[in-house]
Symmetry: C4
Subunit: 289 residues, 4 copies
């Protein structure tokens, strides 16, 4: 009854490969060897720094001063990420699976904009090119790869998906009806220019964001707005209740399912290191000692 040592099928290596390819696969996709870990940490920093560079370039005063340097750094990261992309394709058994996977597409989108900026370099298109280049910020999505703790949350959210859909359906109906009523009550002269704008205002109010760029002026409008606010204040309880209920149940079941390999005792805490019944050490790579 091996619980903690299960190996996910996608991590299996191809036994017919050359040793360097097996090694490369190990470094890029495995996380438990020394170099596998180092690779992940370095990649994480590279992604983070490349995003910081893109962000700094968007600041007017910094672009004027250090524009050359930032573009140089940008090209450095783009070439590094391109080499990484090629290495990933070489080190998986079925490259087409990787290329068409979510992370394969994100990895490609993270390097494309810089290359595209060469071909679309003519005068008036400069702003459009910047648009493409800015898309590289999606590199941050790669970060998600390093977050492996999210399975319990995902299970809880998946179990709640029907109830959450019903909840959002109700929210959409409320903001549409309320937005229309506010358009009728306040009208374009008080900032409620059209029904879509009024619905936007209703969302701003129901979610308790409240920018204040549009605010009701008439007595009836303020009374209606109060109802929306109290509604928004109260119904936040519904998704919270749904998710809490699911997390509590998922967490209780996970605890029940943590079984000792040695004596089959159940109910260990998720980060337990020894069996509470026989004292056998757990082989649990996710929670390092």
């Amino acid at each position: 009854m091996k619980v903690f040592t299960k190996k996910s099928p996608k991590e299996e290596k191809n036994p017919d490969w050359a040793p360097w390819r097996q090694k490369m696969h190990e470094i890029i996709f495995e996380h438990y060897t020394f170099w596998g870990k180092e690779f992940d940490v370095i990649l994480l920093w590279a992604i983070f720094l490349s995003i910081v560079a893109v962000m700094l370039e968007s600041v007017e005063s910094i672009r004027v001063k250090h524009g050359e340097l930032l573009r140089f750094i940008e090209w450095g990261f783009t070439i590094a990420f391109t080499l990484e992309y090629i290495a990933r394709i070489l080190s998986v058994r079925k490259p087409i699976y990787y290329i068409t996977s979510f992370y394969g597409i994100v990895d490609l989108l993270a390097i494309l904009p810089t290359y595209l900026s060469i071909f679309f370099a003519g005068g008036q298109y400069l702003m459009v090119i910047r648009t493409f280049r800015l898309l590289r910020v999606f590199r941050i999505l790669k970060l998600a790869r390093f977050l492996g703790e999210s399975r319990l949350l995902q299970a809880a959210l998946k179990a709640s998906r029907y109830k959450i859909t019903v909840f959002f359906g109700a929210v959409v109906i409320i903001v549409t009806v309320m937005g229309t009523l506010m358009y009728l009550v306040e009208g374009p002269e008080n900032g409620f220019k059209s029904i879509p704008v009024s619905v936007y205002w209703a969302i701003v109010t129901l979610t308790t964001v409240g920018y204040g760029d549009i605010a009701p002026q008439t007595f009836l409008g303020q009374a209606l707005a109060s109802i929306i606010m109290l509604l928004g204040y109260a119904i936040i309880a519904v998704p919270t209740g749904i998710v809490t209920s699911e997390i509590t149940q998922a967490s209780m079941e996970k605890r029940k399912n943590n079984v000792c390999d040695h004596c089959s005792a159940e109910g260990h805490d998720i980060d337990a290191k020894y069996c509470r019944n026989c004292g056998a050490k757990f082989n649990n790579p996710e929670y390092p000692a």
Copy 2:
């Protein structure tokens, strides 16, 4: 012990009817035949598109350009919904039950405003007519018909209704007392023009919306406002706690009540497709395979 195959009484057909009426009833009110499903999907899209048309018409720039087209679309949908309304009356056993039901009234309100706009067409009443026409946005309420997943939420909310009433009573008392105090402290010269306006401000603050169109200027006013904010920040916990508690209990009971028809084993997940004890397939139309 049939649990999943129970049929609700309102879906029963009248055996004395002509076959076309039975067929029509099946298409309009049943959801499990091919055409019954198609009808629902088409109706959903029609409602959605008609609401989009109403919304677009309220945007100044679009109304000037495409006003004629939008009014044509509007009349098309109105006639289609009128035919649907008549078909619904014809295909139920007791039409009066349908007409006086919540959805019967909503269906009628969804088509009336367009017809009313013919009779009240004289010059200066145009704006008033538009008001009636905008009511058609209530068509969106029809969407609720397609949300069948909401029973657990409804049970949880119903069980909490006394506690939620107490909570809202407390909120009303807090905003009235606090609004009055702020009117005394800040006064009309700082934007707190009257007690009703101050109570409105207290609601904006307690629900953490915070438009900022009215904001305390004096030291005492800011201190009082801080208390309201911290109160609002803390007591949101109360409805959340109530609803979470009810959902957890309702969800646990629902899980307990899913009984296998074959071996009477209890405790199946709400979306289980096979009995976890004997492997018998569940006949559960709510969760399609």
Copy 3:
């Protein structure tokens, strides 16, 4: 094991009293006889209407037009509430207990301001007198008397009082430290005029109210503000978790404690009308059939 028919000691009548006093006590303090119920409903409406009158008087345009009428209504309600206050004193065994109780003081505060406005009628003090009169809005606190469902909530909040104190202590520390840091970073020139004002801004931000009358302008200020916002967004989970946990446990225990008078079966729902074991009818006046 009588559970639902227990009588609270404060509702007991004095057997030595004259019948009219016993009757008066029954009408004013009991809720289960016909006139006891009627009295409560009428009082509720009187309180509500008197508060509406005070609110309307604070609106400039209404005061100018209907000032005389509103002052007449105000005096009517004040006299009625005075008679009610005297009747309450006459119909309780130990008047001093009532007078010094929370509701005794509120009842007195609800009538005093109008009388005080006679003696302090000289020219320049008029505004101060209005201040006293506005205190009558506290009459709304009387409403709390009619909310009897709040015991479960009170038990849950009482059980959480230590944890909630710790939570508010942490909030006070966070807003003081963060407010001071923001004063140092942004300074008086960006609206953070003094530490108290900066602490007020930190409360506005942490509780996610966000008026926007004061907002950080520098990069460092916006970074710090982001930390406060994310903190505020996350730690709202703490009071919610505390209260939810207590309500769930209190609610489970309450359910366990609902015992049938006839067969002693436990675990009935709070609004059950019949015993789930022997079918005996419950005598539960709080949940009317």
Copy 4:
């Protein structure tokens, strides 16, 4: 099985010390003797008053009038806290442990700025010195010492730390991607001056703070903002669910662990004073009778 009378090791005294040192240790670090309690209460007030003095000094109008007095009070508190700091060092067995502990550093930081203001007194550095002096507001962190009820909360938060990290990772990704999209959609001309500013706006919106100093103007921008708001409104449920689940479980386990010294009966409430089985009085110093 002594549960309530356990003594934490850091509170043990050194038996080889002189009696006056033992007494001093008792007063400063113990809380159950008369003078130990008095010392804590006086220290609490001193910290509170010194922070109020710093705050008042930052208010322009008060500094002009009472600047001399406030500086005198400041020096008084600084000298008192210095003596307290020396007394603490003298009365612990290993002073280096205290000095390098969190509270040791905070205690030092709370007195240093006032002394530093002597040496850096030259003209143009005055503002910088004030910066140091304002750091004394960190004295408020000392308050945390008096909050001993927070262990359950800490345990719950510690158990949730992995899940909360995943949650904050997701929030960071969302605000970065959404902030960049908004920069592309709205651009510098609508207030979204750079990507960092747009990310700041995304945090303001996702956390439902909503200052309104930056607000989307275009239709596409308002649609995107609506998505961020609804996301922020919904995902608040996740940390709440995590913390609630942990608190419920920690709270249930704590209840289970309160064992009677006399008869070993389990399951006592956390603030029970007598065993519910044998009636033995609990020796529980944390909850005074």
